[in-house]
Point group: C2
Chain length 162, copies 2
DNA sequence: ATGGGTGCAAATGCTTTGCAAGTAC
DNA sequence: GTACTTGCAAAGCATTTGCACCCAT
């Protein structure tokens, strides 16, 4: 059923796939071609995908899969922390690869919808310290800043600051 | 339960209400009793409320209002940055007051659902610098950490770090 | 007076689920 | 062979919208 374009998976993709197979086996679950295809499609992309985009991309690639299976697989991948979900303020949830990916934040422009992704180690460190201080054991995070990108900035910032 | 019967609105609530009236007038919109009631109900609470909780609380308080109006009013309040929305990983969106409230992050326990709120000025500062560096003009932010609270921590952290 | 507002109910649209048939192990 | 999976279609639900009546300004 699986006939994707020949392009070799990245190292990260392979590692994520290994993780997936291991965790699935541990849980007595099966690594079907559909599930692997979903994982690979997400790791092939460098942006956020919503469930439907994922479904369409897989279809176009010739992978026969249903929306139901896409959603179900996303749940599994989320459980194993191989993908992360993000609410970018649109009406649907977005997903992106999580394995071997540094924590990062999203700056979402309310004018043009552009999403800038930035990772900043010092912020990650601070957050981790904060968690430790509170006895909280973090598994994933989502950080979104909504506002205006450089093109649409008005020169009148309004983020509440106290 | 909440002893919120006829206690007078806090200073913050009054200021937020003033803001609301001003911005509404600017836009040629009307400050109906329903809209003010929604604003007050949100500012009366110190936690996240979803639209339906808000609707029920208002009903219980004797405010005749429809869900449609609740949603519509939330849109207005969001537009004016008087409330903020947060996706806590549940199925519905949560709202909380935003005026005069310091930016804060949420630690959501995947075991018990408890939400710890923490504000940390140094993180806020860092984020602001990061925005400046990228020419991004922030208006609001949401920051969620998902994991296990101190009661449910397993001693086996898995947040991806690379 | 009058243009915006409200609320009901129906419509949306993303996501979940029941179930029969298919399939990985 | 036995669960686990798949996919269709139907169901669920939070949220949005159309429309007739209502009211703040």
């Amino acid at each position: 059923m699986n006939m994707e374009k020949k392009e070799k998976p990245s190292k990260i993709t392979r590692l994520a796939e290994d993780q997936f197979r291991t965790r699935m086996k541990e849980d007595g679950l099966r690594c079907t071609s559909e599930r692997i295809a979903v994982l690979q499609e997400i790791y092939r992309s460098d942006t956020h995908l919503d469930a439907d985009e994922l479904f369409v991309k897989l279809k176009n690639r010739g992978v026969g899969i249903s929306r139901a299976t896409v959603y179900h697989t996303l749940d599994l991948l989320l459980k194993f922390h191989l993908v992360s979900r993000t609410d970018l303020g649109h009406k649907h949830t977005h997903y992106e690869k999580a394995y071997g990916v540094e924590n990062h934040l999203h700056m979402v422009c309310s004018e043009c919808g552009k999403v800038i992704e930035i990772s900043d180690p010092s912020i990650s460190d601070m957050l981790e310290n904060l968690c430790r201080k509170n006895g909280f054991e973090p598994e994933s995070l989502t950080l979104q800043l909504f506002g205006k990108c450089s093109v649409h900035a008005s020169g009148d910032p309004v983020m509440s600051k106290k």
